[in-house]
């Protein structure tokens, strides 16, 4: 069984408030030149979901897929 994980950011809903970036314990996220959040360093992610829980705009989703 393998597990694949990724972080999805919906740029249409993101308002660039920086909350996900500031409270990520591993500095995985950043804002791009348009002020939208993006995944800058996925290797550091510990999949804690703090970003997903605190995004006021439902723009971050931590996706965990288990495939056998």
């Amino acid at each position: 069984m393998s597990t694949s994980r990724r972080i999805e950011i919906n740029p249409d809903w993101c308002k660039g408030c920086n909350i996900c970036v500031a409270f990520c314990p591993k500095q995985v996220l950043a804002l791009d030149e348009r002020g939208k959040a993006y995944v800058a360093n996925v290797d550091a992610c510990i999949w804690c979901r703090e970003c997903e829980l605190r995004c006021p705009d439902f723009a971050v989703t931590v996706v965990v897929e288990r495939a056998s």
Partner: protein, 292 residues
């Protein structure tokens, strides 16, 4: 179901300002609802007017966007007619404690089974940042250019004095804990009050030099002091060391008591005896009619 399945996605992105904490509360509420496995058809939400009240536009349940301050009255009507439904009422601090203060204390006094979420951003966000009953003494608003001169309400103490049987406070920084508390509040069979300190960076934050949304949430993180565990009577002990934190915010569950619930008591004391009396008098008149 996923949390976002409880959203009316066609109305997203929502109208709240960048960084507004109201969206974090909506997310925590939907996580709680999802964790409890509630069916959309069994959830009724009522709201008044305010940025906070706009939550109802986005939640895919039975929703009633009603009058400023009066959401609890509408919710009470629904709950009495259909006690089987789960009723949740999100309110702003102005909505709940200023214009709606009377509804708030009396809903608490009745201990009617519903969950009131007081989304406390210390201001009237929707109308442009006027001071509210929870604006701190000396803090600024568009109607307090020299600072307010009155003490704010303490929502937890107010709810406690009025008789709410579940009372908690949390903040938007504590999103994970907020979802747990909201699930607990929804499950509690009585009037539950959950105060959530939330940021309005646009008005309260700007007027009071509190910084952006992130800095306001850091403030919640740094000032929060957890209350002790509940004792056998369902009350938490609050021990605050004033030396440790500058302006401490006690957070956690303050009270969880099981007491007579209004719809239940009303059914037992009024509806059932009234129905029994009506049935007895119908039987008596049928018997009297039969004798003639």
């Amino acid at each position: 179901m996923a949390v976002t399945d409880y959203l009316r996605k066609r109305f997203m992105p929502h109208i709240w300002c960048p960084g507004c904490g109201h969206g974090i509360i909506m997310r925590a509420l939907l996580s709680a609802v999802e964790k409890l496995g509630l069916d959309k058809n069994d959830i009724v939400m009522a709201s008044g007017i305010g940025c906070s009240a706009r939550m109802l536009g986005y939640v895919d349940a039975h929703t009633m966007h009603t009058l400023h301050g009066r959401a609890l009255a509408f919710a009470t009507g629904v709950k009495m007619a259909r006690p089987d439904l789960t009723v949740v009422v999100p309110m702003g601090d102005g909505d709940a404690l200023a214009i709606g203060g009377n509804h708030f204390i009396h809903a608490a006094r009745r201990n009617i089974d519903m969950t009131a979420i007081v989304m406390n951003n210390s201001t009237y966000g929707m109308t442009g940042g006027q001071y509210s009953p929870t604006t701190g003494c000396g803090e600024y608003g568009t109607t307090a250019p020299y600072g307010t001169v009155v003490q704010p309400f303490d929502t937890v103490e107010l709810a406690s004095a009025a008789g709410a049987s579940f009372i908690a406070r949390t903040t938007t920084y504590h999103a994970r804990e907020m979802a747990r508390i909201l699930a607990d509040a929804i499950r509690h069979p009585g009037f539950s009050v959950v105060e959530v300190l939330t940021q309005c960076p646009t008005y309260y934050g700007r007027k009071n030099a509190k910084g952006d949304a992130v800095e306001m949430m850091e403030g919640f993180r740094d000032c929060a002091v957890p209350v002790g565990p509940l004792d056998d009577s369902g009350h938490a002990t609050v021990t605050i060391d004033p030396e440790a934190v500058d302006a401490p915010i006690p957070i956690g569950v303050f009270r969880k008591e099981v007491r007579a619930e209004y719809c239940d008591a009303y059914r037992r004391q009024v509806i059932e005896p009234a129905e029994a009396a009506a049935a007895a008098s119908a039987a008596a008149s049928a018997a009297a009619g039969g004798e003639q």
